[in-house]
């Protein structure tokens, strides 16, 4: 009896993991053959998971409501202060963002903006540390589809695998079958982040490079057509030689989202190459605030010329302070207007002022490489 049962399961295993035919993925085979079995399991287990999650949420909600009421006033004041600070920060960044968009338009770069998301709650896990998946309470009835990206405000979490009418399986970044195209924030190196068998998140298709250092941010590159570009994945935790895949290195990434304690997630159901209407309004508001700040700075400069001179001197000294090893100057003290970006230390063809105006350019002409600024001693 045992032999028959075990042999039957071994054959079933072999059918599920057979090599994919050209043009089909392993997932497609697995889904075709075992979707029904999984659907039955999910249909039996998830109603109870929802029930447990719902009752737990009610208790937590009651308790947190009581706690919130006790600290509402203080929290409100702190939030108002933060909103004011963020408005100033947003205004100062608006101009740089507008410049970035203009450059992207020149390069015909297709940015993908997140336009639609569906919030979902985590109702259960896979129950084993050999499979890093979660179950969420939204499914195809809510517009979800397999391969859609799942994020939290902290960063990327994973993507959807199996989607059922009212439930979906979320494949975490830490699972050994998951993967995402990434780019290192400062070095702009591209790689693929994958989960390992023991639940770590690693980039293991990059060779050793001195420029890759722990602490560097890892962002989605958008090349995988699943995750929109520029979302936070994590921070490089350690870099070590990968003995199994020489000459590549095993770059361990600490995800910014806490993958072991997820309660609510956002499934990205829609992206667009145009800026969403809400974001447009925010940008316009930020630009208006920036303009007001500029005017106020001009008025102050006219009425108090001495302040303007000292501000100019501070501007002149700024490139020296940008040298490696020296601390960055506190720009908020040196200038009364919005914070502006410093001149690039290593200018490239995208740096402002290094390329001739569009009207002077001729088709097919190769632009001269940017000149490195002379170091001031």
């Amino acid at each position: 009896m045992l032999i028959v049962v075990v042999m039957a399961q071994i054959i079933a295993l072999a059918v599920q993991v057979q090599r994919p035919v050209a043009g089909t993925s392993t997932d497609a085979i697995d889904q075709g053959k075992t979707m029904l079995l999984r659907r039955w399991t999910v249909a039996i287990v998830t109603p109870f998971e929802r029930l447990l999650h719902g009752s737990g949420s009610t208790v937590r909600h009651l308790w947190s409501s009581y706690g919130d009421l006790r600290h509402t006033h203080e929290r409100n004041q702190a939030l108002q202060q933060e909103v004011a600070r963020l408005r100033q920060e947003q205004a100062s960044l608006a101009e740089d963002a507008a410049q970035g968009r203009r450059l992207q338009a020149l390069l015909n770069f297709k940015e993908q903006y997140i336009t639609k998301t569906v919030a979902a709650q985590v109702i259960g896990t896979s129950g084993t540390d050999r499979s890093h998946t979660l179950w969420i309470d939204k499914g195809s009835a809510d517009g979800l589809k397999p391969e859609q990206a799942v994020i939290t405000p902290d960063g990327v979490v994973g993507k959807l695998r199996d989607v059922f009418p009212h439930t979906s399986q979320l494949l975490l970044l830490s699972d050994s079958t998951s993967g995402a195209g990434v780019v290192l924030e400062s070095t702009r190196m591209r790689g693929i982040v994958r989960g390992t068998a023991n639940g770590q998140v690693q980039i293991n298709n990059l060779t050793a490079d001195d420029r890759i250092k722990p602490g560097e941010k890892v962002l989605t590159s958008g090349g995988d057509q699943v995750f929109p570009r520029g979302l936070a994945i994590g921070v490089i935790e350690s870099i070590a030689p990968d003995p199994q895949h020489q000459p590549y290195t095993a770059i361990t990434v600490k995800p910014t989202a806490n993958l072991t304690r997820l309660e609510e997630v956002l499934v990205i159901t829609g992206t667009d190459s145009k800026l969403p209407a809400d974001a447009k309004q925010d940008v316009e508001a930020a630009e208006a605030t920036a303009e007001e700040n500029r005017r106020a700075a001009d008025v102050i400069a006219e009425k108090l010329p001495s302040l303007h001179e000292s501000s100019s001197q501070a501007d002149d000294k700024a490139p020296d302070a940008a040298e490696p090893g020296k601390p960055a100057p506190d720009l908020t003290k040196a200038k009364s207007g919005p914070v502006r970006t410093q001149p690039a230390i290593h200018p490239d063809r995208y740096s402002p002022g290094t390329v001739a105006p569009a009207k002077d350019l001729k088709p097919g002409e190769v632009a001269a490489p940017p000149q490195q600024p002379k170091e001031s001693r």
């Binding site: 009896m1 045992l2 049962v5 075990v6 399961q9 071994i10 079933a12 295993l13 072999a14 599920q16 993991v17 697995d30 075992t34 079995l37 999984r38 039955w40 399991t41 999910v42 039996i44 287990v45 109870f48 998971e49 447990l52 999650h53 737990g56 985590v122 109702i123 259960g124 896990t125 896979s126 129950g127 084993t128 540390d129 050999r130 499979s131 998946t133 979660l134 179950w135 695998r161 199996d162 399986q169 494949l171 699972d175 050994s176 079958t177 390992t196 068998a197 023991n198 199994q244 072991t260 304690r261």
Partner: protein, 174 residues
């Protein structure tokens, strides 16, 4: 003259369960296994369905029933993962069969024996799953961490002892 009946030890110690217990206990254990790690992620080290398989197998003392119970619970567990169906199914079929067979030879009411059985079968399951994933599925990234698996076996044993006493209440002598 006193009458002597020829009832074997196997027959004396064989138990059955109410159909509701047979159906609900594995379901509750699989459900808890899926929900508890959400509350406290470290609880993923446990394998409550395995404890259920061992309990039912040694209580029924029927290798066929043990094998089928292990297969059903194992496949059910596989359904909640993204792994192929059969990984837990095969491991738990073997454990169900062995637990039912060992039930004939040892006193399974003894706490020490119960602890030894749970510890041993937990280790056996870890080894079996490693073998399936490493060789049958040819996944070279799978690693066996002996210390972690020992800890898993220990945790399962600690949870199994009170759980066995709780489930003993639902036993019905044949």
């Amino acid at each position: 003259m006193a009458e002597h009946s020829y009832t074997s030890r196997r027959e004396l110690d064989q138990y059955t369960f109410h159909p509701a217990v047979t159906l609900l206990t594995p379901l509750v254990l699989v459900l808890l296994q899926a929900v508890l790690p959400k509350v406290w992620p470290r609880l993923v080290i446990l394998d409550l369905p395995l404890i259920g398989v061992i309990f039912f197998a040694i209580a029924r003392r029927n290798p066929i029933a043990g094998t089928l119970t292990g297969t059903t619970i194992g496949l059910f567990q596989d359904g909640l993962t993204n792994l192929p169906f059969g990984i837990n199914g095969i491991a738990k079929s073997i454990i169900g069969y062995l637990a039912a067979s060992i039930g004939f030879t040892v006193d399974v009411e003894n706490v020490i024996n119960r602890m030894a059985l749970n510890f041993g079968f937990s280790l056996l399951q870890s080894g079996t799953i490693y073998g399936i994933m490493r060789w049958l599925l040819a996944d070279p990234t799978v690693r066996l961490h002996p210390l972690y698996e020992l800890l898993r076996a220990l945790c399962n044993t600690v949870v199994a002892v009170p759980l066995f006493f709780l489930l003993d209440r639902f036993k019905v002598r044949e």
